[in-house]
Symmetry: C2
Subunit: 889 residues, 2 copies
Amino acid sequence: MTKRIFTFRRGAADRTADAAEALGLKGANLALLAALDLPVPPGFTVSTSAWRQVSAQSDMPAEVRAEISAAIKWLEEVTGRQFDGDCPLLLAIRTSARVPMPGLAETVLDLGLNDRTVERVAAELGDLSFAFRSYGRFIEAFSALVYNVDPADFEEIADDERQLRNWTGDEPRTLEEWRSLIARYLAFVEDEVGEALPQTPLEQLYRAIEACFATWRRPVARTFRLAHGIPENAGVAVTVHAMVFNERDEKSGTGRAISRDLSTGQPRLTGEFTPGARDRSQIGGDGKVLDLRALAHPDQRSLFPGDIEALADHVRRLEAHVGDAVEVTFMVGDSELVLLQSGVAKRTAPEAVRVAVRLVGEGLIDEEEAVLRIDPASLEQLLHPTIEHTDDLLPLGKGMPAAPGAATGEIVFSAEAAQAYAAEGRPVILVRTETFPEDIHGMHVADGVVTIRGGTTSHAAVVARGIGKPCVTGAGWLRINRAEGALYASERVLREGDWITIDGSTGEIIQGRASLRPPGLSGDFASLMDFADAARRMRVRTNAETPSEARAARAFGAEGIGLCRTEHMFFDGNRIQVMREMILATDEAGRRAALDRLLPMQRSDFVELFEIMAGQPVTIRLLDPPLHEFLPKGEGEIEDTARQLGIDRAVLCQRIIALKEMNPMLGHRGVRLAISYPEIVETQARAIFEAAIEAGARAGAAVVPEILLPLVSLRKEVDFVRKRIDQVAATVMAERGWKVDYLVGTMIELPRAAVQADTLAEAADFMSVGTNDLTQTVFGISRDDSANFLATYERQGILGRDPFQSVDVEGVGELIALAVEKARRTRPSIAMGVCGEQGGDPASIDFFERVGIDYVSCSPFRVPIARLAAAQSAIRAARLAQSRPRPRG
Amino acid sequence: MTKRIFTFRRGAADRTADAAEALGLKGANLALLAALDLPVPPGFTVSTSAWRQVSAQSDMPAEVRAEISAAIKWLEEVTGRQFDGDCPLLLAIRTSARVPMPGLAETVLDLGLNDRTVERVAAELGDLSFAFRSYGRFIEAFSALVYNVDPADFEEIADDERQLRNWTGDEPRTLEEWRSLIARYLAFVEDEVGEALPQTPLEQLYRAIEACFATWRRPVARTFRLAHGIPENAGVAVTVHAMVFNERDEKSGTGRAISRDLSTGQPRLTGEFTPGARDRSQIGGDGKVLDLRALAHPDQRSLFPGDIEALADHVRRLEAHVGDAVEVTFMVGDSELVLLQSGVAKRTAPEAVRVAVRLVGEGLIDEEEAVLRIDPASLEQLLHPTIEHTDDLLPLGKGMPAAPGAATGEIVFSAEAAQAYAAEGRPVILVRTETFPEDIHGMHVADGVVTIRGGTTSHAAVVARGIGKPCVTGAGWLRINRAEGALYASERVLREGDWITIDGSTGEIIQGRASLRPPGLSGDFASLMDFADAARRMRVRTNAETPSEARAARAFGAEGIGLCRTEHMFFDGNRIQVMREMILATDEAGRRAALDRLLPMQRSDFVELFEIMAGQPVTIRLLDPPLHEFLPKGEGEIEDTARQLGIDRAVLCQRIIALKEMNPMLGHRGVRLAISYPEIVETQARAIFEAAIEAGARAGAAVVPEILLPLVSLRKEVDFVRKRIDQVAATVMAERGWKVDYLVGTMIELPRAAVQADTLAEAADFMSVGTNDLTQTVFGISRDDSANFLATYERQGILGRDPFQSVDVEGVGELIALAVEKARRTRPSIAMGVCGEQGGDPASIDFFERVGIDYVSCSPFRVPIARLAAAQSAIRAARLAQSRPRPRG
C-alpha cells in the first residue's frame, strides 16, 4: 500500500525519496528540519497520493479518514493534548505543491476550536479575548475555504453586534458578548450554506483537508500548471501541525534568520525579529522589527523571548547541511523556538558572488560548485561603473538607488532638452519631478536620470532599469524651477547645463563632474572568474571595433577579438565623405583613388587594435552592409553631400535610387560586395597586413590577423576572395620584407553555408557562426520588421522567447550543429566560433558547448557572463558524461 | 601492347569498346559504318593512345612511324594504289576528339601529291587543272597546318604569277604555268620555314599527323576543355582515308540524306544533293542543290550520279541499327557512293515528337524510349497559340518566322507607344523597321513584334525568342510613315491603333483581329503524353488562380491545382478598394465588415475553380503578401484612394508609412498575417467551405479543398490557424447540413520549416515546398535585388546557373531532401509537393523524383513539360535501380 500520511517531530520524520512531490514544499521542508533534529512543531502531512485517492471520489474515502484519525491520535500523544479534550489540541493547516503556485488554499489556523474548546483555551491561557478572537478568525477562514463565504459578511455581523451591545472597544469584552457574537457567526454560516459548521474537530479537519485538496482545481492554479508544464495529476499535499501561539504576548514572535552577513559573506546570524503582536493584522505594524545582529549582543539578548544562541546554532547546522547560506522562518511561542520554513538565502548578485567565494574558502563547497551557484545573467549588476571618490567632491545628498551604475553629465529638465544636448554629443542627466511615458525618449538619450518623487518601483525606476540607465529617485530635497531653468538643492542653485554626477547603485548625487571608475574584475568577482576559467572549455572573445571597447573587453578577460566590424570605421568623422566618394565613383579607378585615402585610416585603426590585443587573435570582418547604407538620407544631407563632393544633386539622387534595395538584408552586401568590387577587399587586406607588420614590429611579437568573409553561401566565393587576399599578402610581405601569418575564414550566417560547411571548410581556415543573420534567414524574419508580429506571437504563446536573444535550438540550432559536424568532417581541427548576439547569452552558450563550438564572441560587458556561462556548461557536460553508463569493451 | 592504329573498310573494321574515346567521333563513326557493311572510303585511325605516346615525346617515336607505315601498306593493298606510285594513293586527314570541339586541325585533302604524283594523277584523270589545283591547295593546307603559313601569302604569289605569265583566267592553263606556280609555292615555303615541304608522301603523312595531334594544345581547345571538364590527357585521334574526288565532275557530288520525312515522320529518303563542283569554295554556290525526294522519282533518277536506291537502303539499315531517324553525309566520286559521317537526324521539337511516336508505332523503339528521346524543354515550341484560319481573314503577306506563336493587337510604331497602350491594358503589336536595344522595353510589353528588315537572327528575332514573344521579321513589303502614324502595305493603309494578327511560327501577318486557337494536346503530342503518363510516378498539378488558367492547365493534363494564390483575387476591379478598407480599418470590427464584402467575391472564384477542376484536388493558399502591397503607391493614387474611402489623406499616409517594411520579403506576411488577423483566415476558410459545398452540390461529387498555410516556421503557427479553420468548417457544415472533407497543409519555404518538418508533419495533412522563397532564404538572396550582383557571379563563374530557375541541389536541395525524410518519419504517408517555379523545370523535377516528392505544380503551359520530365526521371530511376547489384539475402 502506498503510504499516504507522513509524520514529523523534532528528531524524527517519515522519509520518502521524492519528498517535494509527495509532501509539497512545506511538508518536505518541515520533514527535513525535523530529520536534522531542529525544533519544529510536531505534525503530519497528508500527501499527494492521498490527494489522488480523494480527488478520484466524491467523498473522502473511509480509509483516508481512518489514517488521518490515527495521525491525530499520534499527535495527541506527542503533544500531550487532545482534540476536543481538556487540554485542547489546535492545528495549523498548510497547503503546498511541489513548486510555489498561485491559487492554492490559504493557511487555516486554530483548527480544533469549538464552543467547548474555546473556553478551555481561554482558561488555560487566562486570556479570554485571545481565545475567542482566534475562534472568530477560525470560523471566518474555515467558512471562506470550505463554503466560499465572503469574510466581509462577518465584519457586518460584528458591526451590528457592536451597536446592539454597545461594545466599548473594537471587540467584545465579556464572555457573554463573545458568546453572542460567535453564536451569530455560526448561525449565519448555517443559514447561508444550509449546514452547521462542524463542532467536532476531526470533522473540521476532514472538511478542511478536502477543501484544501480541491483548490488544485481552481482556474488560477490550472492556468499556471498549463503555462509551466506541471502535470494535472501531480496534486497537492496538506501539512497539519500543532499551533504555535506566536502572536500572543511578549514571550512570542516571528522572524527570519540568515546564516551569513550577505554584505561581507561572513558566517554570522543576521535577519530580523518581530515580537509577538496582539493581532495578526498588526504584524510589524508598530514598526517594532528588531535586527537579529543587535539581539545577539549580550546586552540586548533579553529582548528576544527564545534562545538566540540556539537559533544561531540551528541556522549554522542547516547551512552546513545545505552547503549554502540559508534563511529560515521561525516562530517563538511562550518562549519556545520552532522553525517553520527554510531555504537558501535570497541574495543580490554581489552577495551571491561573495558568499560562493567565501564558502569555497571555508571548504564548504568546491570551486565548480561555486561556479554553478551564480546566475551568469546576474553578473550584469556587477559590471557598472562607480564614482571615484575624492576629497574635492561636493555631495548634493542621497536619494533612492533605483537603477544601478554611475553617470555624469549636464543637467537638463525635459526630454526635449535631453535630446537636443545628446544630438550635440553632450552627456546629460535628466532631472524631473517625476517621469511619465512621454519622457521615455529623453531617458533613452540621457546618461542618467534623477527624480524628486518616487521610490524604487516608480515609473522612472522601472524604465531606467529596463533600458540600463543609472537612476536615483526620491531626491526630495531638490526643487526644480523650470521658469528659471534652475535646480535648488538646499542653499545651492544649479542651472541647466551644469554638471552633476549620480550613482544609481548607492543613491548618491554629487555636484560637478566626478571621475567614474570603469567596472573591473577584482576581489571575489575575480576569484569567481578564476574558478570559471579553470572549468571552462570554450574560449571567450569579444566583438569590438574601437580601442575603448577592446580595452574594456581585455579588462573583462576577453581572449581576443572574435568580430571587428570594419564598416563602423567608415562612419567616423570625414571618413564617411571619402567612403561616399568611393561608392559614387563611376569606375574602378575612381573607387581605387578613394580607397587609397581610406587605407591609412583603416591601417591606424588596426594597428591600435592589434597592440591592445597583443598576443591574442583578432578577427576582422570585411565590409558587410550594402553600400546604400553609407549614402546620405534626408533632403538636406543629400544637398550637403552633393556640394561637398562637387557632384550634381540629380546625379547623386539617381545613384541613391539605383542602389536602393527592396530587401537590403538579402541584397548586395557581404562577400557579394567583395566580388563586385575586389578593390575594396584589396584595400582592406592591405590595411590589415601593413598594420600587422607595424604592430608586430613595435610589439616584437607577431600578430596573426584572421580575416572573416561575411554572407558566404558558395565555396567559389571564398576561393575568389581568398585569392585576392593571398595576392595582397604576398605583395605586402615582399614590400616590407616581413612575413605575416594570417587566416582566412568564413561566416556561417546563411542556411546554405551551414548545409555546405563541409565544402566551405576546404577553403576556409576557420568559421564563425553569425547567429543574427542566420536566425533571420532560417526563420525568414527581418529583425527590423518583426516588432509588428512578434509581440502577437509572444502574447499568443506561439513563440516562447525571442529567437534573436537566445538560440532557437530546434531550428537554427540544428543547422549550427550540422555545420559543426560537416565542417569537422572535412577539416577536423577547424576552429568554429560564434559571433552573434547569442555569443553572450547563457542559454545559447550552453547549447554551443554541447555542439562543440570552440569560442564565443560577445560585447565587452558580456565577457564575464560568457566566461561563467561557458564554465557552467562545461561542468554540467562533464557531470552528465560521468553519470552516463560507460559503454562496455 | 595497346593497339594504336585501327583500320576500316566496307564490311570490316578493327573494333574497340570505347570507340569515341579511342578513335574520335569521326574515326568511330567511320568504323561503325564500315562494320555495318555500308560503303565507306577505306582507311585507318591513328588513335588517342598513339596521341598519348607521341605527345609525351618531341618527335614521333619510331614504332608509331612503323605502324603508320604498315597501315599504309595495308591501304595500298586494299585500294590497289600506291603512295608515290604510278597509280597514286591520295589521302584525306581528319582530326577529331570524343566530343565536337573547337580549335582542332582542319581536314587536309589530297595528301600524297608531290611533283611526281601530281602529273600521274593528271594523266590518270585526264584533268591537268584538277590535279594541279588539288596539289596547290594541298600545299596551302599542309603549310598552314604544319608550318603555320598564312594562306594569303599563296594568293599573293598567284597574283604575281598571273601578271608575270599573263594568265588568261583565274588559274594557269598550261603544264608550264602550273609547274612554275607550284615551284614558287614550294620555294616560298622552304624560304619561309627553313626546310622543304616533304616530297615523300609517307613523310608528309607523319608530319601531318604530328601537327594534327599538336592542335590539342591550342589555347582555344584548352579553354574549351577546362569549361567542359574534359581531361587534359583525353587526346585526339587522326583518321586517314582514301580520297574521294567528290568535287570533280558530273559523276561526283556531296549530300546529306535523312531516313525519314521529318514533317510527317514517315520512313522516306529525304535530304539534298549538291552535284560535283569545280571548286570547293563554290559548293552550292551556283545554288544547284537538289532535293533527294525528287531525285528518288524514276524520272529524275539520272540526275543523281550514284545509286539512289542503294543510298535509301543504306540509311534505312542505319536507322534500324540506331533505332532513330538518322542523317548521313555522303559523297559520290566517279559515280561511286560512300558514306562519310552519320548521326541521329537533327529535328525541331514537333518533328522529334512525330518521329518518336512513329517509331513506337513501327515497333522500332518502345514507349519509354520515345519518352526519353524528347527534350522536355523543347515542348515549349509546341505550346504556342495558332491563328484560327477563317475565310474572312485579310492576309497582309508573309515574312520570316522569327519567334514562334501567334498574337493579335493594336499597331504601334514606338516602344513608348507600346508602353502607353499596354498601361491601359490594350494588347499591342510593335511594328518597327528594325529594332535596337532601346526598343526592348517596348518589346517586353508588346504581344508581338514585326520588323520590316532583318532575318531570323536579327536583333528583333533574338530578343523576341529570348523573352518568348511572337515575332515576324523581314516584312519588306511594309513601309512605316511615322509622321502620318501609318503603315503602308501595298495598296492598304493601316493606322496606329488598328488591329493586326501575326504568327511568328509561320511568318503570317493578317489584317484585323483574328481568333487565336490556344495550343492543345492532340495527335502525336497527345500520344507522347500518354506514354509519359504511363511511365510517370510523380503527379503534375498546376499553379492557377483564374478560370482561364485552370481550363488551360486541365487541357494540358494537370491533375489538379497545386497552388492557387488567393492574393491575386484581391487586386481585381473594385476588390482592391474593399481590400484597402480592410487593411485601413482600425479594429477587428472594421476589418470584419470589409471582409464580409470580400467573402461572396472569393466564394464565387472558388466555386468556378472547383467546378473546372471537378474530381481533382485544389490547393488554396491563404493570403501571403504583406498588406502594404495592396495600398496605393504614387501621390495620385493615394489622393484617389483617400477620396474614395473617405479617409483623411494624412491618416492614409501615416498608415502607409506604418506598414512600410525594411525587408518585406522577411516581414509581416504569410501565416503571420493569419495570426495577427485571424478574421482574414476565417473569411477565407468560410469562402472555401461554402464554395466546396456549392460546387459539390452542383457537380454531385464532393470537392476536397486543400488549404495551404504560407511562410510557416513553427508548429504552433499551424496549430493556431488550423484551430480557426476547423471551427469555421464545423460552423459552415452545421449551417448547410453538408459534410466537407478538407486538408490543411503547410508550405515548406523557410529553412526552419525544412529542419522541423517532422514536427510540422504532426499538425499538417500535406506539405508543399515553395522553392522560390526557400531559395531566397537559403541563399540569403532577394530576387528583387539580385540582378546587381548575380550577373557578376555568372560572369566570374561563381554561380553556374540561376538557382531560382533550377534547384540548387547541394544547398536548397539538401534541405528539401531533409524535409521529405523528416516529414515521413512522423507521417509516412504525408503528401509532399513542390509548387515553386522549379516545379516546371526538368532538371529540378529529376531531383524531386530522386528525393521522393509526390507531385509538382507549375504554370499551365509547363504542365506537359513537367509530365514528360517526370516520366523521364522515373524511367531513369527505374533503370538505375535495375542496373545496381541487388543486395544479397
